[in-house]
C-alpha cells in the first residue's frame, strides 16, 4: 500500500503464494462439498497432528527430566521394596519379606517413631509460633519491616549451616546457651544427650521455619475481610474474643494447609540430623530419611530402606488426602 503523488491510495496485491496457479484448481461447482468426508478426515488429521506435535515439542524439555527423575523413581520405589541386595550390585526378589523384616527390626521402627516424635514436637510449635508472630506483625504495621526481616532471615539458612550454628550455641564450653545458664548459676544441661538431642533438633527446626510461616500467615491475615472486625468492634469484642471467634474460624483452611505442609516437611528432616547428631546418641535421632540414607547408601542394604521409603511416601500421600478432604469439607460461613 502506498500513497501516490496525488495523495491517493495505491494498492499492490499479494502474490498467489501458492506457486503456479493451476486454474483448474479453482473451478468448482457451487453449493457442493468439494471434499469427501474421508478427505476431510485425513486433512484434519494432519492439521491436528501438527498442533499436537507442537504442543509436545514445547513440553518435552520439561517432561523428560520429570519422567526420568521423578515419575519413574516414584514408581520404582515399590519395586525396590521387594528387593534385597545392594544398590550398586545385584538384587534379588524377596517379595514381602522386606516388610516383615522391617516391622521386626527395631532400628527401622525406631526411625519411624523418632520421626513422628520429631514432627509432634516441631509442627505444633511452628504453627502456633508462626500464627503468634503473624498476629504481632500485623499489629506493628509498616514499622515492622525490621521485624519481618529478622523473623524471616533464619529461613534462608541451609540446614547444615543452621546445624553448625546451633552446635556453637549449645557447645558446653563456649556456647551461648551454656554460658547463659552458667551465668544464671545452673550447670548447663547436655543439649545433645540421649533424651534431649531430638528435642534440640525440633527446636532448631522451629527456629528455621517460624519466619516462613509467619510471613505466609501474615499475608493470610491481611486478606481477611475487615467488615467482620468492624462489626465485632461495634459489638465491643476485645482482642482475645476477636481472635477466637473471627480470626481463627476464617483462618481454618489456611491453618490446615500450614499444618499439613509443615508436617510433610518435618517428616523428611535430614540435614540437621546428619550434621548435628548423625542419628545419635545411639539411635535416638535416626529419622526415616536418615535411615534410608544410612541403610541404602552407607551400608548397602536396599530392601528395608526402600520399604521405609514406601512408608514415607504413603504417609505423606495420606496426609495430603486428608488435607484435601478436610479443605473441601463444611466451610465456616
Amino acid at each position: 500500500m502506498y500513497l501516490d503523488d496525488e495523495g491517493g491510495l495505491g494498492v499492490r496485491w499479494p502474490v498467489a503464494e501458492f506457486g503456479m496457479v493451476k486454474l483448474s484448481q479453482y473451478v468448482r461447482a457451487r453449493d457442493t462439498r468439494q471434499l469427501t468426508s474421508q478427505q476431510h478426515a485425513s486433512l484434519r488429521h494432519r492439521y491436528v497432528l501438527r498442533r499436537n506435535l507442537t504442543g509436545w515439542a514445547f513440553i518435552l524439555p520439561a517432561v523428560i527430566p520429570f519422567t526420568l527423575f521423578l515419575l519413574i523413581p516414584a514408581m520404582m520405589v515399590f519395586w525396590w521394596s521387594t528387593q534385597e541386595g545392594s544398590i550398586t550390585g545385584a538384587t534379588r526378589f524377596v517379595g514381602l519379606d522386606n516388610w516383615a523384616y522391617v516391622v521386626s527390626r527395631s532400628e527401622v521402627m525406631t526411625s519411624v517413631l523418632n520421626t513422628v516424635k520429631f514432627a509432634l514436637m516441631s509442627v505444633p510449635l511452628i504453627v502456633a509460633a508462626g500464627l503468634g508472630v503473624a498476629l504481632l506483625l500485623q499489629r506493628v504495621g509498616r514499622a515492622g519491616a525490621v521485624f519481618r526481616f529478622a523473623v524471616y532471615f533464619p529461613v534462608l539458612v541451609p540446614g547444615v549451616v543452621a546445624g553448625l550454628m546451633w552446635i556453637f550455641m549449645t557447645h558446653p564450653d563456649f556456647g551461648l546457651l551454656s554460658l547463659a545458664s552458667r551465668f544464671v548459676g545452673l550447670t548447663p544441661p547436655v543439649w545433645l544427650g540421649p533424651g534431649t538431642a531430638l528435642v534440640l533438633l525440633a527446636f532448631v527446626d522451629v527456629w528455621r521455619s517460624v519466619g516462613y510461616w509467619a510471613v505466609f500467615l501474615l499475608a493470610g491475615l491481611m486478606g481477611l475481610p475487615r467488615e467482620l472486625y468492624e462489626a465485632a468492634d461495634l459489638d465491643g469484642a476485645n482482642a482475645v474474643r476477636r481472635f477466637r471467634y473471627i480470626t481463627l474460624p476464617q483462618l481454618r483452611p489456611i491453618l490446615l494447609f500450614v499444618v499439613v505442609v509443615s508436617t510433610i516437611w518435618a517428616l523428611q528432616i535430614f540435614d540437621t540430623v546428619w550434621l548435628m547428631t548423625r542419628g545419635g546418641p545411639g539411635t535416638s535421632t535416626v529419622t526415616m530419611v536418615f535411615y534410608v540414607y544410612m541403610e541404602a547408601l552407607q551400608r548397602g542394604e536396599v530392601g528395608p530402606a526402600a520399604a521405609i521409603s514406601v512408608m514415607l511416601l504413603a504417609g505423606i500421600l495420606v496426609l495430603t488426602a486428608i488435607q484435601m478432604r478436610l479443605l473441601r469439607g463444611p466451610k465456616v460461613s
Binding site: 500513497l3 499479494p14 462439498r33 486433512l43 492439521y47
Partner: protein, 375 residues
C-alpha cells in the same frame, strides 16, 4: 510483499468470483451447536456485516474464517482455496479484535511493522510501509509511543493499521467499535466507511448493533443461535425481513407485532387481532386456519385524531421525547404499540388517539414466524 502481475490477477478474478466462501460451516461443542450449516458467498471488496445478539455465533464464525478456531463441519474457501487446514498465517486474512490486542511491550511503530517483519520484510521496506499506513490513519505522531499511552480511538487505529499493512484478502473485524464511547463510535464508524471506500478491501464485520450494521453494510447477515436468519442489503433486511426475529431486531424502536388470524373469504380478507385490518389483493396466498402475526413499523403508523375514519382507537400510555421525535406508546385492545411521530404533536398520556396502518406498510408472518410474501 510481492505482487501478482495484472494479467494473472485478471485471470484469477475471472475464475474466483468470491473472496470468501463458506459452505455448510458447522461448529458443535459437546452439548451445544454454535453454528449450523452456514453457507455464504462474499464478493471481493464487499462490506459484509454479521449481525446478531450476543451468543449467536458471529464471533465464532469470524474466528473459524481466520483459523483461530476449528469448525466441526463444512468448508471455508479464501480466494478460492480451501482454507480449513491452513494455519491462520497462511490464510491471508487480517483481524481487528474487539480489545485491539496490541502488543503492550512494543511501540506503535513496532506493532504496525510486526506483520511485515514476520514475513521477512526488509527493514527499509517495512519502515516505508509503516510510515504510509501511519499517515493514512493519522498516527504519525504516535509512532514512538506505547499502547498504554494511547487513547481508545488511537489504539483502535493502530489495530486497524496492523491489519491494513498486511494487505490481506479480507479484513475480519470483531466488534471493533464496541469499546469506544458513543460519540467516538459514531465518528469511527464514518472513518471506517471512508477507509473502506478508499482501500476497497473485502471486509467481514461483526456487531450486535443494528445501527452500525445498517449504516456500514453492503450486505447484512442476520444470525441467531448459530443459524442464518437472513442475508440481504440494508434495505432488504429492513423492509422485507425474513422472519419476526429479523423484523424486530432491525429497526429502532422495534417493529410492532400483533398476533391474530386471517379471516374472511377470498377477496375480502381481514386480519383480526388487537387491531382489525383489511388485507388487499396484494397478498396472494394467505393461510386461513392458523395464527399469523402482523407487523408494522412505528414510523409507518399514522397518529390521528380519535374519530378519524378507518382508524383504530387507542389510549396513549407513554410519550418518550427523544428530541427530534416522540415515541408514543398506545394501548390498543389490550396490546401496546409504539408510534414514531416527528412533530411534537399534542399526544398526551391518557389521551385517546386514532391509529391508521397504511396497507403498504403491513408485514405478515405465518405460524412459523416466517415472512409471507406480497407482490
Amino acid at each position: 510483499m510481492t505482487t501478482t502481475p495484472a494479467p494473472a490477477r485478471a485471470a484469477l478474478a475471472a475464475v474466483i468470483p468470491y473472496a470468501i466462501e463458506l459452505v455448510g460451516v458447522t461448529k458443535r461443542y459437546s452439548t451445544v451447536t454454535a453454528l449450523s450449516d452456514i453457507s455464504l458467498e462474499i464478493e471481493p471488496a464487499e462490506f459484509v456485516v454479521l449481525l446478531g445478539p450476543s451468543g449467536c455465533g458471529k464471533s465464532t464464525l469470524l474466528k473459524i474464517i481466520a483459523g483461530l478456531e476449528d469448525s466441526t463441519g463444512g468448508e471455508v474457501y479464501i480466494n478460492g482455496k480451501l482454507a480449513n487446514y491452513l494455519r491462520p498465517k497462511e490464510r491471508d486474512v487480517a483481524m481487528v479484535f474487539q480489545n485491539y490486542a496490541l502488543y503492550p511491550h512494543m511501540t506503535v511503530e513496532t506493532n504496525l511493522g510486526f506483520p511485515l517483519k514476520m514475513r521477512g520484510g526488509k527493514k527499509d521496506v517495512v519502515a516505508r510501509e509503516v510510515a504510509s499506513v501511519a499517515a493514512l490513519l493519522e498516527l504519525t505522531d504516535q509512532l514512538k509511543r506505547y499502547p498504554e499511552q494511547l487513547s481508545g480511538g488511537q489504539r483502535q487505529r493502530v489495530a486497524l493499521g496492523r491489519a491494513i499493512i498486511r494487505d490481506p484478502v479480507a479484513f475480519l473485524m470483531d466488534e471493533p467499535l464496541s469499546n469506544l464511547d458513543a460519540l467516538l463510535r459514531v465518528q469511527m464508524r464514518s472513518e471506517l466507511l471512508k477507509l473502506h471506500r478508499r482501500v476497497g478491501k473485502t471486509t467481514i464485520y461483526v456487531t450486535h448493533d443494528q445501527v452500525e450494521a445498517m449504516t456500514m453494510a453492503d450486505r447484512i447477515v442476520v444470525l441467531k443461535g448459530g443459524v442464518i436468519q437472513q442475508v440481504g442489503s440494508t434495505h432488504e433486511v429492513y423492509s422485507r425481513p425474513a422472519n419476526t426475529f429479523v423484523a424486530t431486531f432491525v429497526g429502532s424502536p422495534q417493529m410492532n407485532l400483533f398476533a391474530g388470524r386471517v379471516e374472511g373469504t377470498v377477496g375480502e380478507r381481514r386480519f383480526s387481532g388487537a387491531v382489525s385490518l383489511p388485507l388487499d389483493s396484494n397478498w396472494p396466498s394467505l393461510p386461513s386456519d392458523t395464527s399469523v402475526t402482523l407487523g408494522v413499523r412505528p414510523e409507518d403508523i399514522e397518529l390521528l385524531p380519535p374519530d378519524t375514519t378507518d382508524a383504530a382507537t387507542g389510549t396513549v400510555e407513554l410519550v418518550e421525547d427523544v428530541g427530534a421525535e416522540d415515541y408514543v406508546s398506545v394501548a390498543i385492545n389490550g396490546q401496546t404499540c409504539i408510534v414514531r411521530t416527528s412533530s411534537h404533536q399534542a399526544a398526551e398520556e391518557g389521551e385517546t388517539v386514532g391509529l391508521r396502518f397504511p396497507p403498504d406498510s403491513l408485514h405478515l408472518f405465518d405460524a412459523d414466524r416466517m415472512r409471507i410474501e406480497r407482490s
